[in-house]
Structures are given as structure tokens and as C-alpha cells.
Symmetry: none
Subunit: 499 residues, 2 copies
Amino acid sequence: MPGRSSPEWELFADWAGTLADLAGTAGLLGWDRETLMPPAGAEGRARQLGTLAALHHRELVRPDAGAAIDALREADGELDDDARVMLRLAARDRDRALRVPEDLVREITEAGSRCVSVWIEARKADDFAAYAGPLRRVLELKRRQAEAIGIGDEPYDALLDEFEPGARVADLEPVFADLRVRLTPIVAAASQREPVELPPRDWAEDGQMALAHDIAAMVGFEESGGVIARSAHPFTGSPHAGDVRFTTRLDRESPLSNIGAVMHELGHALYEQGLPAEVARTPLHDAPSLGAHESQSRFWENQIGHTRAFWEALEPALRRRFPEAMTGLDPALLHRAGRVVRPSLIRVEADEVTYNLHIVVRFEIELALMRGDLAVDDLPGAFADGMERLLGIRPPSDALGAMQDIHWADGMFGYFPTYTLGNLYAAQLAAAAEQELGGIERAVEEGRLLDVLAFMRERVHRHGARLETRELMRRATGRELGSDALIAHLASAYGAGCP
Amino acid sequence: MPGRSSPEWELFADWAGTLADLAGTAGLLGWDRETLMPPAGAEGRARQLGTLAALHHRELVRPDAGAAIDALREADGELDDDARVMLRLAARDRDRALRVPEDLVREITEAGSRCVSVWIEARKADDFAAYAGPLRRVLELKRRQAEAIGIGDEPYDALLDEFEPGARVADLEPVFADLRVRLTPIVAAASQREPVELPPRDWAEDGQMALAHDIAAMVGFEESGGVIARSAHPFTGSPHAGDVRFTTRLDRESPLSNIGAVMHELGHALYEQGLPAEVARTPLHDAPSLGAHESQSRFWENQIGHTRAFWEALEPALRRRFPEAMTGLDPALLHRAGRVVRPSLIRVEADEVTYNLHIVVRFEIELALMRGDLAVDDLPGAFADGMERLLGIRPPSDALGAMQDIHWADGMFGYFPTYTLGNLYAAQLAAAAEQELGGIERAVEEGRLLDVLAFMRERVHRHGARLETRELMRRATGRELGSDALIAHLASAYGAGCP
């Protein structure tokens, strides 16, 4: 019977390692494109990434790998738990790839690529009509893809499942509806508070990059296995174990954008550094879902980075890097300036309270689009109505409304909810950490940031993809997915009667 | 009959493009390893490069590609000249690869990457013993590879042929012996001249990087399609058309090392930028050999960078970047300081006269290692003896002796001779340019550096790999390979009776 010492296992391990290496390589090419590649390289890089995607697909559907997986799974008794999960995850990815005909894959890639190009220009010109046709095509192809995959009760489920394995519309809808209702009074209370603004100062870019390294060291990011760089849009990646990278965004007029981006990306980066090294180059060396990954970025950004104690801990580094700009500023002021709540138009610039309403608007719309309850031509109106209903402001243009994100143009339906799932899980994790550490604020005050990391390593990171997200979070937080923890956190930080 | 519009050609073009993309991807991973990757990434990167090498190999030997190539070559009459050469080069690479088993390819790549990591640390610690084991492993695998390929009269020929297609030990030995004899009096005469040294100054690293960009602009390097960075060992690479990269080496105590490295790497980089764009992602979008590539780096470094006119042209940039350090210095002094000939320990810092003797030492040693006439444990002694015999100085440590270069660690046996082939061809090209441009010194004096580039574009770059190196150089220089042009150049610049 084939176990870990069989030729079938050797073939499987080699195949899984090759897939991991190809995915990591594509990640590095993307990193380089955003941080270093010269403009003339765009066309060559796009082709190179296309080639890697094709090779990844070809490898994924190799018949001998499928046969080895089947043989190994039949001999279930010979396998340890890790091996069993690896095979299950590998079979899932493989089946998913096999169900979608190659022609459809190519059509989706081409239509998405074309739609993104149109979107870039249409957004500039605020011309939704030009974008509607290509978007309709993408939507139709994604619906066909969802039907081919056939997971869940409706097409949207199959797409959601790609980013958040196991999640279903039927589970998310009540949680999101609940969240929407309970957020309204918090937004109202927080919006009435006077906004705190920093006085105009010069926050030099060198100092801000040095500060990024200071923060990374504070929270336990290992630079002997890491890189920090700069890009237009912050992101985190890891080409392979031992090399975890993130970028930040710099604004010379304020340190807040950089610090927020660094804390957010550090959450992702610490997760990657904490994945179980013993299963590198296997499907277990990963987060179980995007929501799980986002729980880490949101935890460090909002649950740690928004404590007053964090700003006090950061003060010496801020004064060292910016002796002039920091004159007359104190941690209390920076803390308040970083927590202004205001309904605003752009999702990626939204505060942590209103952010989730931006997601609810998008979730409801993409669900309606996928169900056929909303036509693409009616999308701009529905988007503006949603913003007005949930956030009380109406986008003055489609560029600032239905066309602001790249996701739909690129066919990423089902991606948006994972951001709010991250916020929900982050708050649940914070509630658990609160208990375990005798208070998060106090732990940070006492300089125990590495204890916070140790908590997260133990409860989340070390498991890799061994558990599905809901089970991982159930065990880590002692609760089912729900909005209680997030609402409690936001109400206590921003609700009526807060300082 | 299958021509360019046939399905066979489509398959062939797709296959060649995939190979080019994989090779470029591996190049980018290597670039990143030398410039940015954190130390903990070494093991993961080695595996990733191993996987890419294995995929490259698997693609290269695909039977359907072989069948397509055969069908296309049989229908020779349907093909244009470019198509014919592409097929010939592709068939050559494919035949070579078919002879080496995939496992061996992966073992070589992984062993090389691992040996490089060990070498980095062992060289720092001057610990040859730590390095000997991994090196022995690399040597053993390369010998197996050479035997599997079976080109030429002895294993070394098969390795040499990879870097310098068509070259054989039997052809190189007389040219190198001749060179060695004719260099001796020039070294003796040049060494007797009083060395010119720059006074101690601080050459800040920021200024030196800015100067690298100044020089790049001067000679016509297009930064919209280029990157310049810093690494321990300067090198040039191109992940794909439109993205050409080189690194330089900085020494705070002198600008000469940086300027020399920049001119050298620019030679490679200009060649890459000048390759025929219409054949991107085909075997023609390349130099025909490393010797041809090196002819360009040596031309710009030694034939242009060592003219007095070059230093005069560079003077304004030097004064702009280093107003203090340049006080009291003039182009004549810098020119002379950059041309001191002295037997010295480090190949990459050697002057252009003694440089070729460093190569002869290495050529003789790697030939002996490959023939089994020298054991790895005896390498340090043999290296020191060779240096003493040819250059009259004995390395005081292995770090400054047998461990100074990355090549052997990375399995690149047969590579060193291509440097001297580059010097020989560069001198032949300079003799041709001298005629065509009415004197190189005069062209530089008159600010016609872009005319020099145009000469090289016309004679060398635009051909890509359409001609074999010997034929390319025969047409470009009007001569057969030999040492006359190089000896004439060195004798006139450094020989007895020179200023």
C-alpha cells in the first residue's frame, strides 16, 4: 500500500513542490514588476507571467499526478494526518482546474485582461458606457466558470470558494446584514467627533523607510528572512520559505499612511514567516483562505496599531527618525489623528469603521450581478444608491463610484467579502488575545509585543493550511464567525461616549 | 510543406518562447538573489532555481518539439534565413539537453546554488575546508554532465562548448600560450613605471551610484528599459526584452573600481539592448557566445574607458557628484591612476595587461581538475603556485587565492577562457573602429560616443545569434582570432617606451 515511502508519494511531493515553486516564482516576478522593473519591460513581463501560468496549469492537471493522488488516498490507513490534508487540498485544486475547459480559462484570461485595459482608460474618462460591454463579457464568462466548477448552491458560491474555501453565500448574508445594521449608530457617533489633523510637516522618505524597519523589528519581523521596499500599492509576498517581502506607501506630508500600511502588511508578513517550515513546498505551507490571511493584517493594523500604547512604544523611533517633524507632537495626538472616522468615497482610504460598509455595498452588488438580478447597465446607479443608503454619501462620478476598484474588471467576483471576514476574525482573535495576555493595551504598554506574536504563532500561524478557516478560527477564538467581537471593538473605540 | 504559417512552426515558436521565458525567469531569480534576497532565502531559492532548470530541461526535450523541428528542417525550401538559424540553434540546444538526464540537471543546479551560499560564508572566514566538500560535489556532477554530452575530444570541451559554441581546448591552448609569452615583456615594462595613486578622499556611495547613471546616459544606455543596482560581484542580466539590468561595485576610497565595473557591465548591457527586437523570445535574441558578449564589455571598459578623452568627457559629471573629492584632481591624473599595471591578487581588480595571466592560471587549473590531474584538496596550493609562476606573487590566503571567484562554486567550468576571448575580440573590434571612426580617441574627444555605439550596433549587436562567433568577428573585424590586435594595443599603451 502506498504511504510516504512509496514512489507515488515521491511523485506527489515533487509535483506539489514544483507547483509551489512556480507560484512563488510568479510572485517574485510580480514583486519585481511593482518595485523595480523599467517601463519598457511591461510587455515582456506580461508574456513571461502568461507562460508561467500556462506551465502551472499544465503541471496541475498532469494525469500521473492525479493517479498518484488517487492511489495514495485509497491507501488512507498508511498516511499521517498531514499527508491526508495535503492530498485533500491538492485534489481540490486539481479537480477545480480540471472542471474548467482550457478554452474557457483562456477566454476568461483574455477577457479579463482586455477589460482591465478598458477599465484603466474608462475610469480616467469617467465613461462607464465604454466599460459596460467588456464587463458584461467577463461576468458572463465567470458565470460559465462558476457553473463548470459547480460548488455550492448558486454560481457565486463557486467563485467565493476559490478565495475562501468552504464559505457560502447562505452563511455570509446574515452576518453581513447584521454587521450593516449594527455599524450605523457607531458611524453616526464617530462622525460627530471633531477630526484631528497633524500640522503640516516634512516627513522625509528616507526617515519613513527607516521607520518601517523600526516597526518591523518591534513586532518581531525577521529581516534575515525578509525584505521591505516601496511601491504605489502596498502588498506582501513570499517567493518561498525564508524570503517574505512587503512594500509600503510613502506620503511626504504625513507618516500615517506609511505606518498604517506597514502594520497591515506586517500582519501578512508575520503570518508567512510563521507558517510551518516543516511543510514548505506543500499545500500546507499556506493560509487556509484569504480571509484567514486578512485576519492577520487587520489584527496588526487595527487591533494593535490603533492602541494608544502602540503610539507610545513607537515614539522613540519617531523622534529618532524625525527630530524636527515630531517637535510639539505627542503619541496621544498621533493616535487620535490616525483614528478619524468619516464616510468617504474610496474604499482603500476608508477608516476601519466605514470600511466594512464599502464591502457590504460591493458584496450585495456582485451577488445581484451574478444572480442576474442586476444588469451591468444598472450597476452605476445601484452602486451610488448603495453608497448613499449605507454611508450617506453619493459618488459624484462613476470613476469615484462603481469603477473605483480593479476587482470586477479582472473577474475577481467573490474576493471583496474576504476583507470583511478578515476584520471579523481579527476582532475575534483580539478578544481571545485580550484574555490570554491580560489585556492587549497593557501587553503593548509593558513592551510585550513579542508575546502578542507568540499568541498568534500558536493559535494561527503554526497550523498553516491544516485546518479550514472556520475550524481554525473556532479553535483559536472559541467562537463561531459573527459580528459581536468586531462591533464590541468598534463601539468601545468609536461609539457614543468614547473619548 | 511546413513553413512559417504551419502548425509545426506555431508549436516551435511557442516552445522557443516558453524556453526564453523560463531562462529569463531564472535570470531574474538570480539577480534578486545577488541584490535583494535575505540570507534565510538561500535554501528555498536554490530549490526554486532547481525546479525552473528541471522544467526548462523537460520543455527542451519535449518530443513534439523535436518532431516539429525535424519536419520544419526537412522542408528547408519553405524557410527564410532567420527561421533556418533558429531551428539549427534550437536543435543544437535540444540535442545537448537530450544527452543529460533531468535528475542530473536538477542536482547540478541545486548543488551549485548551495555551493555558492557556502562559498559566500567560507570566503569571508577564509575557510577552504568548509568549501571543499560542496565544490567536490559540483565538480563530480559537472564531470558526469560533460561525459553525458560527449562533445569534443575530452570532457572539458563539452563544458567549454556550452559557453563558447564551437571552441575547443586544442584551438585555445596555442592562442593562450602565445599570449602568455608575448605578455611577459609588456608586464615587465609596465610594472617598472611609477604607480600613480589618487590622494585619500571620501567617495560617497550615493554619489558613485549617481555617477553610474551619468556614465550610462553618456554611452547611450536606455534607462527606460534598464535597471542599475549594486552587488558584491558586478554582473548584467536581462529577464526579457525591454528589461536589461546591471550591477556595480562601490569602494568609498576610490571611484576607479566603480567606473571600471560600470563601463564593463555597460558593454554587456548595451549589447542586450541592441539585440534585434524582431526576434525576441527566439534563439536569435542572444549573443552567439560568451566570448562575443565579453568582447563588448572589454571594448567599453578597456578600449573606450582607458582613453584619456573618456576621462575628459567624464570630468563634468565627476565634479558635479564629487565637488570636494575632485579638488585638485584632473582627468589626466585619473586616467593614469586607472591604468596602473601591477601583478596583483584579485582577478576582477586586475589591470587589463595582467588580467589575461589570471585567466591562464584558471584555465590550466580547471582543465587539470576536469582531467582528474588535480584534486580539490590540492586546489589552493596549485592556485598559489600558478599565481607565483605567471604573476610572481603568492596569495597570502585562500580567500584571496583559489576562493576569490564564484565560477567554480556555481559549476561554471569552461567559463574563464571566454574572458580572454573577449579581450582578443575587443581589441580586433577596436582596430576596426579605429579605421571606421577616424580614430577612437578622436571620436570620444569630439563627443561622438553614440557613433561608437552605432558602429557596434551595426557590426555586432543587430546580428543577435544569426552568425557563429568566429564568423561574426571575421566579418566585423576582417581578421581571424589571434593575439596580434590585443598585443599591439597593450604594447602601444603600456609597453617599453610608452609615456
